[in-house]
Amino acid sequence: MADITARVTMPTSARKGEIIDIKVLVRHAMDRAVDAQGLKPSPRRIIHSFRASYAGEEIFRMDLSSGIASNPFISFTTVATETGVIAFEWLEDGGAVYSRAATLVVT
C-alpha cells in the first residue's frame, strides 16, 4: 500500500485538563465519481472517514464526502487527560487505511 503524505500539528506537551488543538492535513486528490454520459465512468476515490484515538479510546471521528476539498484539512480539539499516544487514521475508498501517531506528554 502506497503511503500518504500527512502533516499533524499539535503540541507535544500540555497541562492536565488543558484543551489542545489538533490540525491534520493529508495529500489526497479526493477524486469524485464520474458517471456522466460520454465520459469514461470512474469510481469515487476519496478519504471517506477519519478517526482519532487517545490512549486507545476514540475521541473524534469524521465522515467525509466528495464535497470535501482535495488535500483534506481537519481541525478539532481534545482535553489532555494523560500521557499517551494520539493515533490518527484516514480511511480511503477501496479499503486502504493510512495512519500516523503522536505522543502527548501531560504534566
Partner: protein, 161 residues
C-alpha cells in the same frame, strides 16, 4: 438533465426499499450511491433525515465561512457550538449540509465530551453560490441549526459532464 431524472427517482425508490437505507445512516456508503456523480438524496431529504422529527434551535452555533469565495474548490469552514461539553450535555455530532452541491451531506463530525470544546474546521467544495447549513446534535437530543450564504465566483466543477 431532464432525461436523467427518472433514473434518479428509480434509484431513490430502490434505496428506500433496502432495509439498511433507513435514516440515521450518517453518510450514504453503498457503492451504487457513492459512485454516482449526483446523490439520489435531495438537500431537503437529507436535512429531514438528520432532524428526525426534531425542531432545530436557530441559535448556539457560530458558523464562520467567507461571505464571498473566489474559488469553490476550497472554502474554509469553522464551526463553534456553545456547549459546556460535559459528560451529561455535549455536542455529539455536527453536520455540514449544502443546498446546491450534488451531494447534500458534506461532512459529519462525531465528538465526545473529551473534545473540551465543540469547535471543528475543514475545507469544503461548493458547486455554486448557496447556503451552507450546519446542524449540531447534542447528547440531550436537541438540534441547533445555523446557515450562511456563500457567494462563489468560480464553482467547483462537480457535474461530471
Amino acid at each position: 438533465m431532464a432525461d436523467k431524472a427518472p433514473t434518479r427517482r428509480m434509484v431513490a425508490a430502490g434505496l428506500a426499499a433496502m432495509p439498511f437505507a433507513v435514516q440515521a445512516q450518517p453518510m450514504p456508503s453503498s457503492a451504487a450511491e457513492v459512485n454516482r456523480s449526483r446523490s439520489s438524496e435531495s438537500y431537503a431529504d437529507a436535512e429531514r433525515a438528520l432532524l428526525a422529527g426534531r425542531t432545530p434551535i436557530a441559535a448556539g452555533i457560530t458558523l464562520d465561512v467567507p461571505k464571498l469565495s473566489e474559488n469553490g474548490n476550497s472554502v474554509d469552514v469553522l464551526i463553534k457550538v456553545d456547549s459546556a461539553m460535559t459528560r451529561e450535555d455535549h455536542v455529539r455530532a455536527i453536520h455540514i449540509l449544502s443546498e446546491q452541491n450534488p451531494f447534500p451531506r458534506v461532512a459529519t463530525f462525531n465528538l465526545t465530551a473529551r473534545a473540551g470544546r465543540a469547535e471543528v474546521a475543514t475545507r469544503i467544495r461548493l458547486a455554486t453560490t448557496q447556503n451552507i447549513v450546519v446542524l449540531a446534535e447534542t447528547s440531550r437530543g436537541a438540534v441547533h441549526r445555523a446557515e450562511q450564504e456563500v457567494i462563489v465566483i468560480l464553482g467547483a466543477c462537480v457535474d461530471g459532464g
